[in-house]
Amino acid sequence: MLSYTLRRLAFAVPTLLAISFIVFAILDLAPNDPTGSLPLTIPPEVRADIRRQLGLDQPMPVRYLKWCVQFFWNEPLALLERWTGVSLGAAEGRLRVISWSTRAPVLDLIVERLPQTLWVIGMSYVIGVLIALPIGVISAYRQYSWFDQLGTFVSMVGYSVPTFFTGLLLIVAFSIKLQWLPSVYDTGHRVTDWDSFWFQVRQMLMPVAVLALYNAAQISRFLRASMLDNMDQDYVRTARAKGLRERAVVWVHVLRNSLIPVVTVIALGFPQALGGAVITEQIFRINGIGQLLIQGVYSADIPLVQTLTFLFAVMIVLFNLVADLLYAVLDPRVRYD
């Protein structure tokens, strides 16, 4: 298993390099411009100077190589220095990946934003899974019952209604009409006591609910289908025949086997959920990773967009590996060596 993991990681390196180059090339071909949102009163000569100062006058391969050096060598060194406090020398000469709109290192921006994204998206994912499990199991066990019909209806709604619509609906209902919940997420809020904790819960409630509904809908459908596949298997009949209680049959035998494909779906879905939360973050002004990406795109902040997109790619590759490994853990028949 270890050698398999290492082999997969080694294979990931060229894949990721190719991805980074493709992303860079696409961004380079995109016709937007970092001086585009400056006031029109700024004359073209000054704009040309700004572009030169950002290094945009250099040819594309040179800029790509610079980014590679900055991202794969200088940034890890900077991180190492920060964590260990040890100076590795010549830090002055090592250029980090600098965002154009903020003139700050891109990774610092990402590190600053990760907490709120992970809290909201992670929480909604966990809650989504927790809701999906019982719905999926009961829907499959009592197929075509009223519970199954209701579950199917709710998950179809959750699946097909886009999050930007449910989000606005909740804001109109709970922020404008009822005025119970804040519509703008306060990223500077710190939890220090019960009152501030309660505020945190209230401001997270709507975004988490919107995303959890979407995730739960997806996962419960997969689980239901997987449970139905397993329900008629021979081992289930055997388990019943040897006198196991129905609860043990369903929740231990069938569920465990049905979870194998679902776990991969959950693992593969996580990076997508992070990227897909862009819209929800925008609506509730959570200002996490997704909103950072959007703002980067709007202001043509190419280093920022490049780095973020690449990190998403890294996560997808990693979570693919995690899903494959989990598969082997859950299913003893699967062996990679």
Binding site: P31, N32, D33, P34, T35, G36, S37, L38, P39, L40, T41, I42, P43, P44, E45, V46, R47, A48, D49, I50, R51, R52, Q53, L54, I98, S99, W100, S101, T102, R103, A104, P105, D108, L109, E112, R113, I171, S175, I176, Q179, P182, S183, V184, D186, T187, G188, Q282, I283, R285, N287, Q291, L292, Q295, Y298, S299, A300
Partner: protein, 565 residues
């Protein structure tokens, strides 16, 4: 209600009524919502207006513009003029005298060296400073003594108030930015995120592209101000939801730049929690007319002066196009209180406004048709006019923006009534307004017949703005499409007026020159002005002292804002 509370509130009311300033920080927190978040607090490196507005809470220029466009001294004792000896007779030097009681927020005094340094910072050729144009022709900036700064220009400057006036070029602290000159400007993240200023607030935490938290500057020059102890400058989302957060949910005190359809904004304002405010600067939404031929078959010579436009160079056509447009409909549909009908490219300040073009105020389709008939443009079988095989068919481009697309559709209909065919296109703003010379879709390349966007100028002096349309400013392949004369208008008479304005100091004469230039542009059909655009923001009903300003930062007088109890 108990008697004490009644008495107490009556007392509070009487204090408010007499206008007695409460002490510094008495009004708690001010919540500002900018749907474009601040990316950086150093205005010289900013990528948009939102950064300038955020920075104006912290940094001060030598002088500001008030809401009427008048200059107000901020860090100086008075505005230098020829009369008070501050500006030399030959118009080449201006001498500013700093107030002696100004401290930076770290407690050190402001000196002339800081002012001198601010100019050097922006004028450094490798700094990428976006206000560099404000320092055009500056020969030297000297600190004469601790309180006196003298700026010398290489040519006579009838309007010498470019450098260090207004939110775009404030004074930054020399001690903080000394190591950030030129190429090192980007490396100074700490200074760019937490500039030390002389303004009413100082940064406590800056999260780039998200939120700025500030507190009252303990060393602010007026001991009673600002009334707010802390400010939260939150960013993100979109204009409509920002308006909602002030007008409907009341979560925020101020929302900026609410470019929202007027009917939606009116409905929100009806909730009564806040007030929509607008102000008018010199911004005009205009149709820019391509006087050169954008025909793709011309290849490299496309949209260059070598090939005049087949029909837009005919003044009868552009006049008919202008007459056919009912501008009031455009204002009502897209702008509401944020727009007024205009026929001028220079709609403000008041004394600069020409009345020669007011014929366009009232639409007249019959007259437009008559003009076209007279000029020999006859309707073909499909209702589109043509002459000598040239059809009046227009490619009309603008940036992606729902108001602009609405306007485009309306104009298309209005032009249909006079036998003009229109094809509409919209291009993403970051491409359209970008200056990437390899992109075919920029406003400078102008591969279309008509473009629509807003242009304006900083401050109240239109000299630079009017100089945009000299012959030498025409973008072309030779100058990598760098140039601000987008319509490719060229007239010796106009260039002579620009040169004359560069030598004229009297305000009345300058206004007369500006009006004549405006009229020349309109008569040649280089522009079809549509809407004089205002800025729209909203503030909570409890906030007092907002003086909406289009000539400077909207937060220019934030130190005077208070919260009514």
């Amino acid at each position: 209600m108990r008697l004490e509370t009644i008495l107490a509130s009556a007392a509070a009311l009487s204090i408010a009524a007499t206008g007695a300033q409460a002490e510094r920080g008495a009004d708690g927190q001010l919540n500002l919502l900018y749907w474009q978040a601040a990316s950086i607090l150093n205005p010289y490196l900013s990528g948009g207006t939102k950064d300038l507005e955020a920075a104006s809470l912290i940094l001060d220029p030598l002088a500001n513009y008030d809401e009427a466009g008048n200059m107000v001294p901020v860090l100086v004792t008075e505005i230098p003029t020829i009369e008070n000896g501050g500006v030399s007779e030959d118009l080449t030097t201006i001498t500013w005298t700093l107030r002696d009681d100004i401290l930076w927020s770290d407690g050190t005094p402001l000196t002339a060296e800081d002012v001198k340094f601010s100019a050097e910072y922006c004028m450094h050729p490798d700094g990428g400073c976006n206000s560099a144009a404000k320092f055009t022709d500056v020969e030297s900036v000297e600190a004469v003594d601790v309180q006196t700064v003298r700026i010398t220009f290489s040519v006579p400057k009838p309007f010498p108030y470019g450098p260090l006036v207004g939110a775009m070029s404030p004074v930054i602290q020399r001690a903080q930015f000394a190591d950030c000159l030129g190429e090192k400007a980007t490396a100074c993240t700490e200074a760019n995120f937490n500039p030390i200023g002389t303004g009413p607030f100082r940064v406590t935490e800056f999260k780039a592209n998200d939120v700025v938290t500030l507190e009252a500057n303990p060393n602010y020059r007026d001991p009673d101000k600002p009334a707010f102890a802390t400010v939260v400058f939150k960013g993100g989302g979109d204009a409509a939801s920002a308006a909602r957060a002030v007008l409907e949910t009341g979560e925020f005190d101020y929302a900026w730049n609410l470019q929202v359809e007027p009917e939606i904004l009116d409905a929100m304002a009806a909730a009564g929690k806040g007030t929509v405010v607008s102000s008018f600067g010199p911004a005009v939404e205009r149709l820019v007319v391509n006087l050169s031929d954008p025909d793709p078959s011309l290849g490299e010579a496309r949209s260059t002066v070598a090939h005049p436009h087949p029909f837009l160079t005919d003044p009868a056509v552009t006049r008919a196009l202008s007459l056919a447009i009912d501008r009031q409909i455009l204002v009502d549909a897209g702008y509401g209180s944020a727009g007024k009908v205009t026929c001028n490219i220079l709609p403000a300040p008041e004394m600069m406004v020409s009345t020669a073009n007011d014929w366009c105020m009232t639409p007249d389709v019959d007259e437009a048709n008559r003009l076209l008939d007279e000029a020999g443009w006859v309707r073909g079988a499909d209702g589109v006019r043509e002459k000598d095989g040239v059809r009046l068919s227009i490619l009309f481009v603008s940036s992606v923006n729902s108001v602009r697309q609405g306007t485009q559709a309306l104009v298309k209909q209005m032009w249909q009534a006079i036998g003009v065919e229109t094809e509409l296109r919209s291009i993403d703003a970051s491409v359209f307004f970008g200056s990437d010379p390899s992109s075919p879709d920029t406003i400078q390349k102008f591969y279309a017949d008509i473009e629509m966007y807003t242009n304006t100028f900083d401050g109240t002096d239109p000299e630079k703005y009017m100089a945009n349309w000299q012959c030498g400013e025409i973008p072309s392949p030779e100058n990598q499409w760098v140039g601000s004369n987008i319509p490719r208008f060229c007239s010796e008479q106009y260039d002579a007026l620009v040169a004359e304005m560069g030598k004229t100091a009297s305000l009345e004469e300058r206004a007369a020159l500006a009006r004549r230039m405006n009229d020349l542009l309109i008569a040649a059909g280089a522009f079809i002005p549509l809407v004089h655009r205002g800025d729209v923001s909203a503030h909570a009903a409890s906030i007092r002292g907002v003086r909406m300003n289009s000539w400077d930062s909207e937060l220019w007088n934030v130190e005077d804002w208070t919260r009514a109890q």
